[in-house]
Amino acid sequence: MMKFSNAIKFAAILSVVALAGCAEKPKAVPAAPPAPPAAAAPAQVKTSSIVPGSAEDLRVNVGDTIHFAFNSSALNSTAKATLQRQAAWLQKYPAVTVQVQGNCDPRGTREYNLALGARRASAAKEYLVSLGVSPARVDTISYGKERPICAESNASCYAKDRRDVTVVTSGGATS
Protein backbone atom coordinates (compact mmCIF):
# COMPACT_ATOMS: atom_id res chain seq x y z
CA MET A 1 0.00 0.00 0.00
CA MET A 2 2.79 2.34 0.92
CA LYS A 3 4.53 1.73 -2.36
CA PHE A 4 1.33 2.23 -4.31
CA SER A 5 0.69 5.53 -2.64
CA ASN A 6 4.24 6.69 -3.20
CA ALA A 7 3.91 5.75 -6.83
CA ILE A 8 0.85 7.98 -7.13
CA LYS A 9 2.70 10.83 -5.52
CA PHE A 10 5.59 10.32 -7.89
CA ALA A 11 3.24 10.31 -10.85
CA ALA A 12 1.69 13.52 -9.61
CA ILE A 13 5.07 15.18 -9.33
CA LEU A 14 5.95 14.02 -12.83
CA SER A 15 2.79 15.49 -14.28
CA VAL A 16 3.49 18.82 -12.57
CA VAL A 17 6.96 18.84 -14.08
CA ALA A 18 5.50 17.99 -17.47
CA LEU A 19 3.01 20.84 -17.26
CA ALA A 20 5.76 23.22 -16.30
CA GLY A 21 7.71 22.02 -19.30
CA CYS A 22 4.85 22.94 -21.63
CA ALA A 23 4.48 26.44 -20.25
CA GLU A 24 5.61 29.36 -22.36
CA LYS A 25 8.59 31.34 -21.27
CA PRO A 26 7.63 34.35 -19.21
CA LYS A 27 7.11 37.56 -21.16
CA ALA A 28 6.95 41.06 -19.78
CA VAL A 29 3.27 41.96 -19.62
CA PRO A 30 1.53 44.74 -17.73
CA ALA A 31 0.88 43.58 -14.21
CA ALA A 32 -2.69 42.50 -13.86
CA PRO A 33 -4.56 43.50 -10.73
CA PRO A 34 -4.17 40.84 -8.11
CA ALA A 35 -6.76 38.18 -8.51
CA PRO A 36 -9.28 37.96 -5.71
CA PRO A 37 -8.53 35.08 -3.42
CA ALA A 38 -9.90 31.93 -4.92
CA ALA A 39 -13.23 30.99 -3.45
CA ALA A 40 -12.33 28.36 -0.94
CA ALA A 41 -12.45 25.30 -3.13
CA PRO A 42 -13.24 22.18 -1.19
CA ALA A 43 -9.91 20.68 -0.29
CA GLN A 44 -9.63 17.77 -2.68
CA VAL A 45 -7.74 15.20 -0.72
CA LYS A 46 -7.24 12.09 -2.75
CA THR A 47 -8.21 9.17 -0.58
CA SER A 48 -5.26 7.34 -1.91
CA SER A 49 -2.86 9.97 -0.52
CA ILE A 50 -3.93 9.10 3.02
CA VAL A 51 -2.04 6.22 4.51
CA PRO A 52 -4.52 3.56 5.57
CA GLY A 53 -4.31 2.88 9.30
CA SER A 54 -2.96 6.37 9.98
CA ALA A 55 -4.32 9.07 12.24
CA GLU A 56 -5.38 10.96 9.12
CA ASP A 57 -7.18 7.87 7.83
CA LEU A 58 -9.22 7.76 11.05
CA ARG A 59 -9.95 11.48 10.88
CA VAL A 60 -10.83 11.76 7.18
CA ASN A 61 -12.16 8.38 6.12
CA VAL A 62 -13.67 7.02 9.32
CA GLY A 63 -14.67 10.11 11.28
CA ASP A 64 -13.02 11.04 14.57
CA THR A 65 -15.70 13.29 16.07
CA ILE A 66 -19.13 12.67 17.55
CA HIS A 67 -21.48 15.27 18.98
CA PHE A 68 -23.81 15.45 21.96
CA ALA A 69 -27.00 17.19 22.99
CA PHE A 70 -26.76 19.89 25.68
CA ASN A 71 -25.73 18.54 29.10
CA SER A 72 -25.99 14.99 27.77
CA SER A 73 -23.61 12.09 27.27
CA ALA A 74 -26.13 9.95 25.38
CA LEU A 75 -24.95 8.61 22.01
CA ASN A 76 -27.33 9.48 19.18
CA SER A 77 -27.65 7.38 16.02
CA THR A 78 -25.12 9.48 14.11
CA ALA A 79 -22.61 9.13 16.93
CA LYS A 80 -23.19 5.39 17.09
CA ALA A 81 -22.67 5.03 13.34
CA THR A 82 -19.37 6.91 13.60
CA LEU A 83 -18.26 4.79 16.54
CA GLN A 84 -19.20 1.62 14.63
CA ARG A 85 -16.89 2.72 11.81
CA GLN A 86 -14.19 3.50 14.40
CA ALA A 87 -14.62 0.04 15.96
CA ALA A 88 -14.33 -1.68 12.57
CA TRP A 89 -11.26 0.39 11.77
CA LEU A 90 -9.68 -0.46 15.12
CA GLN A 91 -10.33 -4.16 14.43
CA LYS A 92 -8.63 -3.76 11.09
CA TYR A 93 -5.56 -2.09 12.61
CA PRO A 94 -5.03 -3.99 15.86
CA ALA A 95 -1.79 -2.21 16.75
CA VAL A 96 -3.53 1.15 17.05
CA THR A 97 -4.41 2.63 20.44
CA VAL A 98 -6.61 5.69 20.74
CA GLN A 99 -7.65 8.33 23.22
CA VAL A 100 -11.22 9.60 23.32
CA GLN A 101 -11.21 13.28 24.34
CA GLY A 102 -14.45 14.51 25.91
CA ASN A 103 -15.38 18.18 25.50
CA CYS A 104 -18.21 20.47 26.55
CA ASP A 105 -19.61 23.80 25.48
CA PRO A 106 -18.85 26.79 27.76
CA ARG A 107 -22.35 26.97 29.26
CA GLY A 108 -21.55 24.89 32.29
CA THR A 109 -19.44 25.43 35.39
CA ARG A 110 -15.80 24.41 35.05
CA GLU A 111 -15.70 21.40 37.39
CA TYR A 112 -19.11 20.08 36.36
CA ASN A 113 -17.95 20.20 32.74
CA LEU A 114 -14.78 18.26 33.58
CA ALA A 115 -17.07 15.56 34.96
CA LEU A 116 -19.44 15.81 31.97
CA GLY A 117 -16.52 15.57 29.50
CA ALA A 118 -15.35 12.42 31.31
CA ARG A 119 -18.86 10.99 31.02
CA ARG A 120 -18.92 11.70 27.27
CA ALA A 121 -15.51 10.16 26.67
CA SER A 122 -16.48 7.13 28.74
CA ALA A 123 -19.77 6.70 26.85
CA ALA A 124 -17.85 6.44 23.57
CA LYS A 125 -15.29 4.07 25.05
CA GLU A 126 -17.96 1.78 26.45
CA TYR A 127 -19.68 1.63 23.08
CA LEU A 128 -16.41 0.82 21.30
CA VAL A 129 -15.73 -1.91 23.86
CA SER A 130 -19.25 -3.30 23.37
CA LEU A 131 -18.37 -3.61 19.69
CA GLY A 132 -15.38 -5.77 20.49
CA VAL A 133 -12.53 -3.28 20.92
CA SER A 134 -10.25 -4.14 23.82
CA PRO A 135 -10.65 -1.59 26.65
CA ALA A 136 -6.86 -1.52 26.95
CA ARG A 137 -6.68 0.11 23.51
CA VAL A 138 -9.00 3.00 24.38
CA ASP A 139 -7.90 5.71 26.80
CA THR A 140 -10.15 8.60 27.82
CA ILE A 141 -9.51 12.17 28.89
CA SER A 142 -11.78 15.10 29.71
CA TYR A 143 -11.00 18.65 28.73
CA GLY A 144 -14.27 19.99 30.13
CA LYS A 145 -14.89 23.37 28.51
CA GLU A 146 -11.17 24.13 28.13
CA ARG A 147 -10.81 23.30 24.43
CA PRO A 148 -13.57 25.05 22.50
CA ILE A 149 -13.22 24.97 18.72
CA CYS A 150 -15.69 27.76 18.16
CA ALA A 151 -15.54 31.24 19.71
CA GLU A 152 -19.03 32.58 19.03
CA SER A 153 -21.71 32.34 21.69
CA ASN A 154 -24.58 30.77 19.77
CA ALA A 155 -26.34 27.43 19.52
CA SER A 156 -24.49 26.17 16.45
CA CYS A 157 -21.12 26.98 17.96
CA TYR A 158 -22.01 25.32 21.26
CA ALA A 159 -23.13 22.22 19.30
CA LYS A 160 -19.68 21.99 17.69
CA ASP A 161 -17.97 22.24 21.08
CA ARG A 162 -20.01 19.40 22.61
CA ARG A 163 -17.91 16.59 21.19
CA ASP A 164 -15.75 13.54 21.62
CA VAL A 165 -12.65 13.38 19.44
CA THR A 166 -10.92 10.03 18.97
CA VAL A 167 -7.20 10.48 18.36
CA VAL A 168 -4.54 7.88 17.57
CA THR A 169 -2.01 7.67 20.41
CA SER A 170 0.19 4.84 19.13
CA GLY A 171 0.47 2.14 16.50
CA GLY A 172 -0.90 4.24 13.67
CA ALA A 173 0.62 3.95 10.19
CA THR A 174 2.83 6.84 9.17
CA SER A 175 3.41 8.10 5.66
Binding site: G108, T109, E111, Y112, A118, I141
Partner: protein, 437 residues
Protein backbone atom coordinates in the same frame (compact mmCIF):
# COMPACT_ATOMS: atom_id res chain seq x y z
CA UNK B 1 8.34 34.99 45.90
CA UNK B 2 9.49 32.21 48.17
CA UNK B 3 9.87 34.24 51.28
CA UNK B 4 7.11 36.69 50.72
CA UNK B 5 5.65 36.07 54.15
CA UNK B 6 8.88 36.13 56.09
CA UNK B 7 9.14 39.89 55.97
CA UNK B 8 5.67 40.09 57.39
CA UNK B 9 6.77 38.07 60.36
CA UNK B 10 9.23 40.87 61.00
CA UNK B 11 6.41 43.37 60.92
CA UNK B 12 4.58 43.73 64.18
CA UNK B 13 2.14 46.15 65.54
CA UNK B 14 2.02 47.86 68.87
CA UNK B 15 -0.54 50.15 70.33
CA UNK B 16 0.53 53.74 70.42
CA UNK B 17 -0.59 55.58 73.52
CA UNK B 18 -3.84 57.37 72.99
CA UNK B 19 -3.69 61.10 73.11
CA UNK B 20 -7.32 61.47 74.09
CA UNK B 21 -9.89 59.15 75.58
CA UNK B 22 -11.73 57.28 72.85
CA UNK B 23 -15.42 57.95 72.46
CA UNK B 24 -16.09 55.50 69.59
CA UNK B 25 -19.22 56.78 67.94
CA UNK B 26 -18.04 56.05 64.42
CA UNK B 27 -19.37 52.79 63.09
CA UNK B 28 -20.14 51.34 59.67
CA UNK B 29 -22.50 48.39 59.38
CA UNK B 30 -21.02 46.08 56.75
CA UNK B 31 -24.32 44.30 56.29
CA UNK B 32 -25.85 47.39 54.71
CA UNK B 33 -23.52 47.63 51.71
CA UNK B 34 -22.32 50.96 50.38
CA UNK B 35 -25.51 52.94 50.72
CA UNK B 36 -23.59 55.77 52.33
CA UNK B 37 -19.86 55.13 52.37
CA UNK B 38 -18.07 56.83 55.28
CA UNK B 39 -16.18 59.98 54.20
CA UNK B 40 -12.59 59.51 55.35
CA UNK B 41 -9.57 61.80 54.92
CA UNK B 42 -6.23 60.07 54.43
CA UNK B 43 -3.48 62.67 53.81
CA UNK B 44 -0.05 61.55 52.69
CA UNK B 45 1.87 60.22 55.65
CA UNK B 46 4.53 62.42 57.18
CA UNK B 47 8.12 61.69 56.16
CA UNK B 48 10.16 61.63 59.37
CA UNK B 49 13.28 62.65 57.51
CA UNK B 50 14.13 63.56 53.94
CA UNK B 51 14.19 60.27 52.07
CA UNK B 52 11.14 58.85 53.80
CA UNK B 53 8.77 60.64 51.40
CA UNK B 54 8.32 57.69 49.04
CA UNK B 55 6.98 55.17 51.56
CA UNK B 56 5.06 57.96 53.32
CA UNK B 57 3.19 58.86 50.11
CA UNK B 58 2.85 55.30 48.79
CA UNK B 59 1.49 53.76 51.98
CA UNK B 60 -1.23 56.42 52.26
CA UNK B 61 -2.16 55.82 48.60
CA UNK B 62 -2.56 52.07 49.15
CA UNK B 63 -4.69 52.63 52.27
CA UNK B 64 -6.91 55.07 50.32
CA UNK B 65 -7.30 52.54 47.49
CA UNK B 66 -8.04 49.62 49.85
CA UNK B 67 -10.71 51.42 51.84
CA UNK B 68 -12.27 52.99 48.74
CA UNK B 69 -12.49 49.61 47.01
CA UNK B 70 -14.40 48.15 49.95
CA UNK B 71 -17.34 50.39 49.13
CA UNK B 72 -17.76 51.15 52.84
CA UNK B 73 -15.48 54.20 52.83
CA UNK B 74 -15.22 57.24 50.57
CA UNK B 75 -11.66 58.63 50.68
CA UNK B 76 -11.86 62.39 50.19
CA UNK B 77 -9.84 64.28 47.59
CA UNK B 78 -6.56 65.53 48.97
CA UNK B 79 -7.21 68.84 47.18
CA UNK B 80 -9.99 69.59 49.64
CA UNK B 81 -7.72 69.30 52.69
CA UNK B 82 -7.20 72.52 54.66
CA UNK B 83 -4.74 71.38 57.29
CA UNK B 84 -1.37 69.93 56.35
CA UNK B 85 -0.39 67.25 58.83
CA UNK B 86 3.24 67.72 59.88
CA UNK B 87 3.29 66.02 63.27
CA UNK B 88 1.13 63.02 64.00
CA UNK B 89 1.80 63.22 67.72
CA UNK B 90 -0.33 66.29 68.25
CA UNK B 91 -4.12 66.18 67.77
CA UNK B 92 -5.31 67.53 64.42
CA UNK B 93 -7.44 70.66 64.12
CA UNK B 94 -10.75 68.77 63.98
CA UNK B 95 -12.66 71.82 62.75
CA UNK B 96 -10.52 71.86 59.60
CA UNK B 97 -11.62 68.29 58.83
CA UNK B 98 -15.25 68.87 59.82
CA UNK B 99 -15.43 71.66 57.23
CA UNK B 100 -14.66 69.20 54.43
CA UNK B 101 -17.15 66.73 55.93
CA UNK B 102 -14.59 64.07 56.80
CA UNK B 103 -15.97 61.81 59.51
CA UNK B 104 -12.71 59.96 60.01
CA UNK B 105 -9.11 61.07 59.59
CA UNK B 106 -6.01 58.91 59.24
CA UNK B 107 -2.60 60.41 59.97
CA UNK B 108 0.66 58.54 59.71
CA UNK B 109 4.41 58.75 59.58
CA UNK B 110 7.13 56.72 57.86
CA UNK B 111 10.65 56.66 59.29
CA UNK B 112 13.64 54.64 58.15
CA UNK B 113 15.49 53.29 61.17
CA UNK B 114 19.29 53.17 61.62
CA UNK B 115 19.06 49.35 61.47
CA UNK B 116 17.53 49.50 57.97
CA UNK B 117 13.97 48.76 58.99
CA UNK B 118 11.02 50.97 58.16
CA UNK B 119 8.89 52.21 61.04
CA UNK B 120 5.31 53.20 60.21
CA UNK B 121 2.95 54.83 62.71
CA UNK B 122 -0.65 55.76 62.11
CA UNK B 123 -3.55 57.18 64.07
CA UNK B 124 -7.26 56.96 63.27
CA UNK B 125 -9.28 59.94 64.43
CA UNK B 126 -13.01 60.42 64.96
CA UNK B 127 -13.36 63.90 63.48
CA UNK B 128 -16.74 64.81 65.02
CA UNK B 129 -16.02 63.03 68.31
CA UNK B 130 -12.68 64.78 68.47
CA UNK B 131 -10.88 61.67 69.66
CA UNK B 132 -8.33 59.09 68.62
CA UNK B 133 -9.91 55.74 67.79
CA UNK B 134 -6.75 53.79 67.12
CA UNK B 135 -2.98 54.20 67.06
CA UNK B 136 -0.57 51.52 65.86
CA UNK B 137 3.10 51.23 65.02
CA UNK B 138 4.76 48.75 62.65
CA UNK B 139 8.35 47.80 61.91
CA UNK B 140 9.14 46.02 58.66
CA UNK B 141 11.72 45.61 55.93
CA UNK B 142 11.31 48.55 53.53
CA UNK B 143 10.31 46.36 50.55
CA UNK B 144 7.34 45.17 52.60
CA UNK B 145 5.72 48.60 52.68
CA UNK B 146 2.65 47.45 50.76
CA UNK B 147 1.93 44.76 53.31
CA UNK B 148 2.13 47.30 56.12
CA UNK B 149 -0.29 49.51 54.19
CA UNK B 150 -2.75 46.60 53.90
CA UNK B 151 -2.37 45.88 57.63
CA UNK B 152 -3.22 49.52 58.36
CA UNK B 153 -6.27 49.25 56.07
CA UNK B 154 -7.34 46.09 57.89
CA UNK B 155 -6.91 47.78 61.29
CA UNK B 156 -9.02 50.79 60.22
CA UNK B 157 -11.67 48.54 58.64
CA UNK B 158 -11.88 46.46 61.82
CA UNK B 159 -12.00 49.47 64.17
CA UNK B 160 -14.83 51.11 62.27
CA UNK B 161 -16.89 48.10 61.11
CA UNK B 162 -16.21 45.65 63.93
CA UNK B 163 -15.36 43.02 61.29
CA UNK B 164 -11.96 41.61 60.40
CA UNK B 165 -10.49 43.16 57.27
CA UNK B 166 -9.34 41.31 54.15
CA UNK B 167 -6.74 43.59 52.56
CA UNK B 168 -3.63 41.77 53.79
CA UNK B 169 -4.49 38.69 51.74
CA UNK B 170 -3.42 37.07 48.50
CA UNK B 171 -5.31 35.67 45.54
CA UNK B 172 -4.30 32.56 43.64
CA UNK B 173 -5.80 32.49 40.16
CA UNK B 174 -5.42 31.41 36.54
CA UNK B 175 -3.82 33.98 34.27
CA UNK B 176 -5.07 33.69 30.70
CA UNK B 177 -3.68 34.73 27.32
CA UNK B 178 -4.14 33.77 23.68
CA UNK B 179 -7.25 33.51 21.46
CA UNK B 180 -10.48 31.94 22.77
CA UNK B 181 -9.91 28.63 20.99
CA UNK B 182 -6.28 28.40 22.11
CA UNK B 183 -6.20 29.86 25.59
CA UNK B 184 -2.93 29.65 27.48
CA UNK B 185 -3.49 29.28 31.22
CA UNK B 186 -0.91 29.86 33.94
CA UNK B 187 -1.04 29.47 37.69
CA UNK B 188 -0.43 32.83 39.37
CA UNK B 189 -0.63 34.56 42.74
CA UNK B 190 -0.98 38.23 43.58
CA UNK B 191 -1.88 40.52 46.44
CA UNK B 192 -5.59 41.16 46.99
CA UNK B 193 -5.26 44.52 45.20
CA UNK B 194 -3.50 42.98 42.19
CA UNK B 195 0.01 44.07 43.16
CA UNK B 196 3.03 41.74 43.15
CA UNK B 197 1.74 39.19 40.61
CA UNK B 198 3.91 36.08 40.32
CA UNK B 199 3.48 33.39 37.67
CA UNK B 200 4.05 29.88 38.98
CA UNK B 201 3.69 27.84 35.77
CA UNK B 202 4.82 28.66 32.24
CA UNK B 203 1.66 28.04 30.23
CA UNK B 204 2.94 24.98 28.34
CA UNK B 205 0.26 22.87 30.02
CA UNK B 206 -3.28 23.49 31.20
CA UNK B 207 -3.85 24.37 34.86
CA UNK B 208 -7.23 24.98 36.54
CA UNK B 209 -9.03 25.68 39.83
CA UNK B 210 -6.24 26.58 42.32
CA UNK B 211 -7.10 26.88 46.04
CA UNK B 212 -5.00 27.96 49.06
CA UNK B 213 -4.44 25.93 52.19
CA UNK B 214 -5.18 27.69 55.52
CA UNK B 215 -1.62 29.02 55.87
CA UNK B 216 -1.57 30.28 52.25
CA UNK B 217 1.73 28.44 51.74
CA UNK B 218 0.31 25.55 49.71
CA UNK B 219 -1.92 25.54 46.64
CA UNK B 220 -4.05 22.60 45.50
CA UNK B 221 -4.90 22.79 41.79
CA UNK B 222 -5.53 20.70 38.71
CA UNK B 223 -2.85 20.26 36.08
CA UNK B 224 -2.46 18.48 32.73
CA UNK B 225 1.35 18.58 33.00
CA UNK B 226 1.68 14.78 32.74
CA UNK B 227 -0.85 14.63 29.92
CA UNK B 228 -3.39 13.32 32.42
CA UNK B 229 -5.60 15.69 34.39
CA UNK B 230 -4.69 15.31 38.04
CA UNK B 231 -4.75 17.27 41.30
CA UNK B 232 -1.36 18.68 42.30
CA UNK B 233 0.04 20.52 45.28
CA UNK B 234 2.29 23.56 44.80
CA UNK B 235 4.49 24.59 47.73
CA UNK B 236 5.02 28.35 47.58
CA UNK B 237 7.94 28.13 49.99
CA UNK B 238 9.99 25.76 47.85
CA UNK B 239 8.38 26.08 44.41
CA UNK B 240 7.98 22.29 44.46
CA UNK B 241 4.92 20.76 42.79
CA UNK B 242 3.79 17.18 43.25
CA UNK B 243 0.92 15.04 42.03
CA UNK B 244 -1.46 14.31 44.89
CA UNK B 245 -1.77 10.54 45.17
CA UNK B 246 -1.46 8.09 42.30
CA UNK B 247 -4.92 7.57 40.92
CA UNK B 248 -5.64 5.72 37.67
CA UNK B 249 -8.10 8.33 36.42
CA UNK B 250 -8.85 12.04 36.51
CA UNK B 251 -8.77 13.79 39.89
CA UNK B 252 -10.22 17.29 40.04
CA UNK B 253 -12.04 19.96 42.10
CA UNK B 254 -9.61 19.97 45.08
CA UNK B 255 -10.05 21.97 48.29
CA UNK B 256 -8.25 21.86 51.62
CA UNK B 257 -10.01 21.06 54.88
CA UNK B 258 -10.15 24.00 57.33
CA UNK B 259 -7.28 22.47 59.36
CA UNK B 260 -5.21 22.00 56.21
CA UNK B 261 -4.62 18.31 56.90
CA UNK B 262 -6.89 16.95 54.21
CA UNK B 263 -7.74 17.56 50.58
CA UNK B 264 -11.23 16.82 49.36
CA UNK B 265 -11.70 16.29 45.61
CA UNK B 266 -13.47 14.36 42.89
CA UNK B 267 -12.12 11.18 41.37
CA UNK B 268 -13.43 9.92 38.06
CA UNK B 269 -13.82 6.26 37.19
CA UNK B 270 -15.60 4.92 34.08
CA UNK B 271 -17.01 8.38 33.48
CA UNK B 272 -18.52 8.60 36.95
CA UNK B 273 -17.27 11.26 39.39
CA UNK B 274 -17.32 10.64 43.16
CA UNK B 275 -16.05 12.71 46.08
CA UNK B 276 -13.06 11.43 48.05
CA UNK B 277 -10.99 12.84 50.88
CA UNK B 278 -7.26 12.28 51.26
CA UNK B 279 -5.44 12.69 54.57
CA UNK B 280 -2.20 14.47 53.68
CA UNK B 281 -0.32 12.95 56.65
CA UNK B 282 -1.26 9.30 56.14
CA UNK B 283 -2.25 9.53 52.45
CA UNK B 284 -5.28 7.44 53.37
CA UNK B 285 -8.16 7.93 50.93
CA UNK B 286 -11.83 7.69 51.88
CA UNK B 287 -14.74 7.66 49.44
CA UNK B 288 -17.63 9.88 50.56
CA UNK B 289 -20.21 9.62 47.77
CA UNK B 290 -21.30 6.53 45.83
CA UNK B 291 -23.81 7.34 43.21
CA UNK B 292 -24.08 6.87 39.43
CA UNK B 293 -24.08 10.62 38.82
CA UNK B 294 -21.78 13.63 38.83
CA UNK B 295 -20.61 14.46 42.36
CA UNK B 296 -18.09 17.30 42.49
CA UNK B 297 -17.10 20.80 43.70
CA UNK B 298 -16.88 19.74 47.38
CA UNK B 299 -16.18 22.40 50.04
CA UNK B 300 -15.95 22.04 53.83
CA UNK B 301 -17.91 24.11 56.33
CA UNK B 302 -15.55 26.28 58.40
CA UNK B 303 -15.86 23.93 61.39
CA UNK B 304 -14.91 20.98 59.18
CA UNK B 305 -18.00 19.02 60.21
CA UNK B 306 -19.95 19.28 56.98
CA UNK B 307 -19.31 19.37 53.24
CA UNK B 308 -21.33 21.11 50.55
CA UNK B 309 -21.06 19.79 46.99
CA UNK B 310 -22.93 19.59 43.72
CA UNK B 311 -24.57 16.59 42.13
CA UNK B 312 -26.97 15.84 39.28
CA UNK B 313 -28.30 12.75 41.06
CA UNK B 314 -31.74 14.34 41.24
CA UNK B 315 -31.86 14.93 37.49
CA UNK B 316 -30.15 18.32 37.32
CA UNK B 317 -27.05 19.95 38.78
CA UNK B 318 -28.00 21.10 42.32
CA UNK B 319 -26.37 21.84 45.70
CA UNK B 320 -26.15 19.22 48.46
CA UNK B 321 -24.79 19.06 52.01
CA UNK B 322 -23.41 16.00 53.82
CA UNK B 323 -21.57 15.28 57.04
CA UNK B 324 -17.77 15.12 56.78
CA UNK B 325 -17.93 11.31 56.91
CA UNK B 326 -20.31 11.18 53.95
CA UNK B 327 -23.45 10.51 55.99
CA UNK B 328 -26.72 12.46 55.75
CA UNK B 329 -26.39 13.53 52.11
CA UNK B 330 -29.28 15.88 51.40
CA UNK B 331 -30.22 18.32 48.70
CA UNK B 332 -30.55 22.00 49.67
CA UNK B 333 -31.28 23.71 46.32
CA UNK B 334 -34.39 23.07 44.26
CA UNK B 335 -34.08 25.56 41.42
CA UNK B 336 -35.80 25.05 38.11
CA UNK B 337 -32.42 25.84 36.54
CA UNK B 338 -29.14 24.47 37.83
CA UNK B 339 -26.78 25.33 40.68
CA UNK B 340 -23.09 24.53 41.11
CA UNK B 341 -19.70 25.44 42.67
CA UNK B 342 -20.96 25.85 46.27
CA UNK B 343 -18.48 27.49 48.68
CA UNK B 344 -19.14 27.75 52.39
CA UNK B 345 -18.62 31.20 53.94
CA UNK B 346 -15.76 31.40 56.47
CA UNK B 347 -18.43 32.71 58.89
CA UNK B 348 -20.49 29.56 58.34
CA UNK B 349 -23.73 31.45 57.76
CA UNK B 350 -23.97 31.31 53.97
CA UNK B 351 -23.12 29.16 50.97
CA UNK B 352 -22.26 31.05 47.78
CA UNK B 353 -22.79 29.29 44.47
CA UNK B 354 -23.30 29.69 40.74
CA UNK B 355 -26.97 29.92 39.82
CA UNK B 356 -27.62 28.81 36.26
CA UNK B 357 -30.75 29.78 34.40
CA UNK B 358 -31.39 29.84 30.67
CA UNK B 359 -29.10 32.58 29.36
CA UNK B 360 -27.49 33.53 32.67
CA UNK B 361 -24.85 32.42 35.16
CA UNK B 362 -24.95 34.51 38.33
CA UNK B 363 -23.44 34.40 41.80
CA UNK B 364 -25.96 33.81 44.59
CA UNK B 365 -25.90 33.07 48.31
CA UNK B 366 -28.21 31.05 50.55
CA UNK B 367 -28.20 29.65 54.06
CA UNK B 368 -26.81 26.14 54.53
CA UNK B 369 -30.39 24.82 54.82
CA UNK B 370 -31.16 26.26 51.37
CA UNK B 371 -33.29 29.14 52.64
CA UNK B 372 -32.87 32.87 52.00
CA UNK B 373 -31.44 32.60 48.49
CA UNK B 374 -30.28 35.94 47.02
CA UNK B 375 -28.68 36.59 43.62
CA UNK B 376 -25.88 39.17 44.03
CA UNK B 377 -24.38 39.60 40.54
CA UNK B 378 -25.80 40.06 37.08
CA UNK B 379 -23.17 39.25 34.48
CA UNK B 380 -23.53 37.18 31.32
CA UNK B 381 -21.60 34.32 32.86
CA UNK B 382 -20.45 34.74 36.47
CA UNK B 383 -19.23 31.59 38.19
CA UNK B 384 -16.87 30.02 40.72
CA UNK B 385 -17.21 32.30 43.77
CA UNK B 386 -14.55 32.52 46.50
CA UNK B 387 -15.00 34.19 49.90
CA UNK B 388 -12.84 36.84 51.53
CA UNK B 389 -11.70 35.55 54.93
CA UNK B 390 -14.21 37.82 56.70
CA UNK B 391 -17.16 36.40 54.77
CA UNK B 392 -18.28 39.85 53.59
CA UNK B 393 -16.86 39.97 50.04
CA UNK B 394 -16.62 37.47 47.19
CA UNK B 395 -14.52 37.23 44.06
CA UNK B 396 -15.64 35.27 41.01
CA UNK B 397 -14.88 34.63 37.33
CA UNK B 398 -16.80 36.83 34.89
CA UNK B 399 -16.96 35.60 31.27
CA UNK B 400 -18.36 37.45 28.28
CA UNK B 401 -19.92 36.29 25.03
CA UNK B 402 -18.01 35.55 21.85
CA UNK B 403 -14.67 34.75 23.37
CA UNK B 404 -13.96 38.08 25.06
CA UNK B 405 -11.34 37.56 27.74
CA UNK B 406 -12.33 36.43 31.24
CA UNK B 407 -12.04 38.81 34.18
CA UNK B 408 -12.06 38.48 37.95
CA UNK B 409 -14.63 40.62 39.77
CA UNK B 410 -15.47 41.19 43.39
CA UNK B 411 -18.82 41.88 45.02
CA UNK B 412 -19.85 42.45 48.61
CA UNK B 413 -22.37 40.03 50.04
CA UNK B 414 -25.17 42.58 49.67
CA UNK B 415 -24.52 42.71 45.91
CA UNK B 416 -24.19 46.51 45.91
CA UNK B 417 -20.45 47.01 45.47
CA UNK B 418 -19.35 45.16 42.34
CA UNK B 419 -15.81 45.89 41.09
CA UNK B 420 -13.39 44.49 38.55
CA UNK B 421 -10.31 43.08 40.27
CA UNK B 422 -6.96 44.35 39.06
CA UNK B 423 -5.19 41.39 37.39
CA UNK B 424 -2.22 41.22 35.03
CA UNK B 425 -4.33 40.58 31.92
CA UNK B 426 -7.29 38.21 31.52
CA UNK B 427 -7.85 35.95 34.52
CA UNK B 428 -10.20 33.34 36.00
CA UNK B 429 -10.62 30.88 38.89
CA UNK B 430 -9.74 33.18 41.80
CA UNK B 431 -9.29 31.76 45.30
CA UNK B 432 -8.88 34.01 48.30
CA UNK B 433 -6.25 33.33 50.98
CA UNK B 434 -6.89 33.68 54.70
CA UNK B 435 -5.58 36.85 56.35
CA UNK B 436 -1.79 36.76 56.14
CA UNK B 437 -0.39 36.52 59.67
Amino acid sequence: MRNWCLGVLAAFAMLVGTIMPAAAQLHVDVTQGNVQPLPIAIPDFVAATAGDETPAVNIAAVVRADLGRSGLFRPLSRKSFIQKITNINVPPQFSNWQVIKAQALVTGEAAMQPDGRLRVDFRLWDVYGGSQMLGLQYFTTPENWRRVAHMISDAIYKRITGEEGYFNTRIVFISESGPPTHRIKRLAVMDEDGANPVFLTNGSYLVLTPRFNPTAQMIAYMSYISGKPRVYLFDLETGHQQMLGNFPNMTFAPRFSPDGNKVIMSLEKHGNSEIYVMDLRTRAVTQLTDNPSINTSPCYSPDGKQITFESDRGGSQQIYVMNADGSNQHRISFFSGRAGTPVWSPRGDLIAFTKIEPGSFRIAVMHPDGSGERVITDGWQDEDPTWAPNGQVLMFTRSYPNGRADEIWSVDVTGRNEQRVNTPGPASDPAWSPLIQ
